[in-house]
């Protein structure tokens, strides 16, 4: 049971990465644009790298505080419930406020890492990972029992880094595949064809993941 839950949670980290990656709102069109504007495939790769960096930092910015709290507090369950509630609320907020953050258009087109960071923050991309991450921490806690706070904290931090890395890698591969296929084979005609309005799906995903986190906290896995 524990093993299959853990496997499922890690898959969730990967699937959420793929999900973020295919969303044009997380930046793959910028990689296509960079490759075409500079006439170089290396520009496409460099752009994907910068987008990944920005996304990774955004994930860490969100996961770090939760990671520290989960190590310091004994109220593991309460923290997981609170995190789930925050994620659900973010989803509801995005459902109600359907306007897009205007400031993203004010970022210079060449500042890709900054743009990627801000886009991920504005859309609550990092929050989507929090319940999954806390779920993984919860399993570890069951495995290892009571550890010294320092050891625990190091473990939780390492977990956060691995979760963010795996997630960002999945995102970059997914976005990179779409960008590459369009750049080399399909052409820009398919750019607009691959865009779907994910606003509602995205907001509902947050609600779903948050709810799952709350459920997991109560169910104790």
């Amino acid at each position: 049971m524990e093993v299959s839950t853990e496997t499922a949670l890690w898959w969730a980290v990967i699937i959420s990465g793929i999900y973020h990656g295919i969303n044009p709102g997380m930046g793959w069109p910028l990689a296509v644009s960079a490759g075409l504007m500079n006439d170089k495939r290396t520009s496409l790769v460099a752009a994907l790298g910068l987008l990944a960096l920005g996304h990774f930092i955004a994930m860490m910015t969100i996961l770090l505080p939760f990671s520290l709290m989960s190590a310091l507090f004994i109220w593991e369950k309460e923290l997981r419930i609170a995190a789930g509630v925050i994620v659900v609320l973010m989803g509801i907020y995005l459902l109600i406020n359907r306007r897009h953050p205007r400031f993203l258009a004010r970022v210079h087109p060449a500042k890709l890492a900054l743009w990627s960071f801000l886009a991920a923050m504005a859309h609550g991309a990092g929050l989507m990972l929090v319940p999954i991450y806390l779920g993984i921490c919860g399993i570890d806690a069951n495995d290892t029992g009571h550890q010294a706070v320092q050891t625990l904290m190091a473990g939780r931090l390492a977990n956060a880094v691995i979760v963010a890395l795996v997630h960002t890698a999945a995102m970059t591969v997914a976005g990179g595949v779409i960008a590459t296929v369009i750049y080399f084979w399909l052409g820009l005609k398919f750019l607009s064809k691959t865009w779907f309005n994910l606003d509602i799906v995205w907001a509902l995903s947050l609600v779903f993941v948050g709810a799952l986190g709350i459920y997991g906290a109560y169910a104790g896995h």
Partner: protein, 466 residues
């Protein structure tokens, strides 16, 4: 909000050229003396339709005195910007400013045969929120709809410089002034940009007292109209360079950047060179050091005339100036069309090499002296003016009125509004279509044309044509 991007948004100019052709055109109906409210005429451009080439619907406003001039879309291909990732706006509303009233109408054209006013923004709101007046050119951009203005605050629009303000592209709320550092810019007319390269270019006509009651001859002869173009860091909202084209180059109007965002050049039309009455086109570009440059690449000579054939304003010169009042660039960046409103000619230049344009075609119609008739034998009032090219580059439409009070000065005996169309040959050259001739309803002149689904002076493309 749509689930898919609007099918009229295109990633590249090339894709826009391959898209289905226009079925409708929207053209300004202007009551020159303000005795009737202005309107928008819907023209049937579907060549298989029974009513092809006719005005099939009119939307007339409620209040007179707006003076419609230029207008544009709420959203265009710029929505596919990779920075947005949210291309789900609809190209549905025309933003139509009145340059005399400072009122702005948002017109819903989803059903072209039943277009209607969606929202009206009263002048007081524009004055209060922007400090500007006399809104003019519309472009849909990164943060919303950008609107250029011709006047600053105060009764005559000279209290402070004119500039650009931004409107929300969904609610049409006015957000406020665009500029953070306008540098030397103190007059305004047109503007356009290159979104991926993050620059904007703006131009200058004159301040409201210099045009509202007619052209001021003393100001023109003392070179007091605009003669500079300004380059901006688009997102920093900062004027980074002002290029003076030379004070004799009076009225630097239309800015036409290459549509392919990989290119860093464009064109600007100058109405009249006061040293020799020529009309001129400048090519502007960014050099290898990142400095903006401009060079005169086209000149059009005035034509000698008998003073008896000339209006008061021009009698002393014994010549008619070309008066370059509008230019438009085809989506493949190949042909630049230049309206010579004074001599009654529309020129087509091959600008494949932007530094060495070659005259590829010429159509004569109207004109102060020549007054050439349309091939169908009917009169064409004034001269060729607002020009719009179909996306595929095969059809060129134009109308005839410049600006109410200026029409009356240069063409005191003419009256009326016409819209005509020329067909472009396979290898350049173009000829008027004898069967396309729209006479506007009595009491109305015509001005800017917008084509359903976008045209060559609305859409900004975010990816290079490959």
């Amino acid at each position: 909000m749509n689930v898919r991007p609007d099918p009229t948004f295109h990633a590249t100019a090339k894709l826009a050229m391959q898209a289905p052709v226009e079925n409708y055109g929207f053209t300004v109906m202007l009551s020159p003396d303000g005795s009737l409210p202005d309107g928008i005429a819907v023209v049937d451009l579907d060549q298989s339709s029974k009513t092809y080439g006719q005005i099939v619907h009119q939307l007339i406003m409620e209040k007179p005195g707006d003076e419609f001039h230029h207008f544009g879309w709420n959203a265009c291909s710029s929505s596919l910007s990779p920075l947005s990732g949210h291309a789900f706006l609809e190209r549905r509303y025309l933003i139509v400013p009145g340059i005399r009233s400072s009122r702005i109408y948002v017109i819903d054209v989803k059903d072209p045969l039943n277009i209607k006013v969606h929202k009206t923004i009263e002048p007081e709101e524009i004055f209060a929120k922007t400090g500007y007046s006399r809104p003019h050119t519309i472009h849909c951009g990164p943060e919303g709809i950008y609107v250029s203005t011709l006047g600053g605050g105060g009764e005559d629009g000279t209290d402070g410089p004119p500039g650009i303000f931004i409107m929300d592209c969904e609610t049409f709320e006015i957000i406020g002034q665009y500029e953070m550092d306008r540098g030397k810019q103190d007059k305004h007319y047109d503007f356009w940009w290159n979104l991926p390269q993050d620059y904007m270019v703006s131009s200058e006509w004159g301040l409201p007292p210099q045009f509202e009651n007619g052209i001021v001859a003393e100001d023109l002869l003392s070179n007091k109209y605009g003669h500079s173009i300004h380059f901006w860091d688009l997102r920093k909202r900062k004027n980074i360079q002002t290029l003076d084209l030379g004070e004799n180059h009076q009225m630097a109007l239309e800015i036409r950047p290459a549509h392919d965002p990989k290119k860093s050049y464009g064109f600007c039309g100058v109405v009249v060179d006061t040293s020799n009455l020529q009309g001129a086109i400048f090519t502007w570009w960014r050099d290898d050091d990142g400095v903006w440059q401009a060079k005169k690449t086209i000149t059009i000579d005035p034509q000698p005339a008998n003073p008896d054939d000339l209006p008061e304003l021009l009698k002393g010169f014994e010549a008619v100036p070309p008066l370059v009042t509008d230019i438009d660039l085809s989506l493949d960046d190949k042909y630049l069309y230049v309206a010579c409103w004074g001599i009654g000619e529309m020129h087509q230049y091959d600008v494949t090499d932007p530094m060495n344009p070659v005259l590829a075609g010429k159509v004569e119609i109207g004109g102060i002296v020549k007054d050439t008739k349309h091939p169908n034998g009917k009169d064409f009032a004034y001269g060729p003016q607002m020009v719009e090219i179909s996306r595929d580059g095969s059809r060129v439409y134009w109308t005839n009125s410049l600006y109410s009070t200026w029409d009356d000065q240069f063409y005191p005996d003419d009256e009326g509004g016409q819209m005509v169309m020329a067909r472009v040959g396979e290898n350049g050259g173009f000829e008027l279509d004898k069967d396309f001739y729209i006479d506007f309803p009595k009491g109305y002149r015509s001005h800017q044309i917008r084509l359903e689904g976008g045209d060559c002076s609305t859409d900004s493309f975010c990816y290079p044509s490959v």
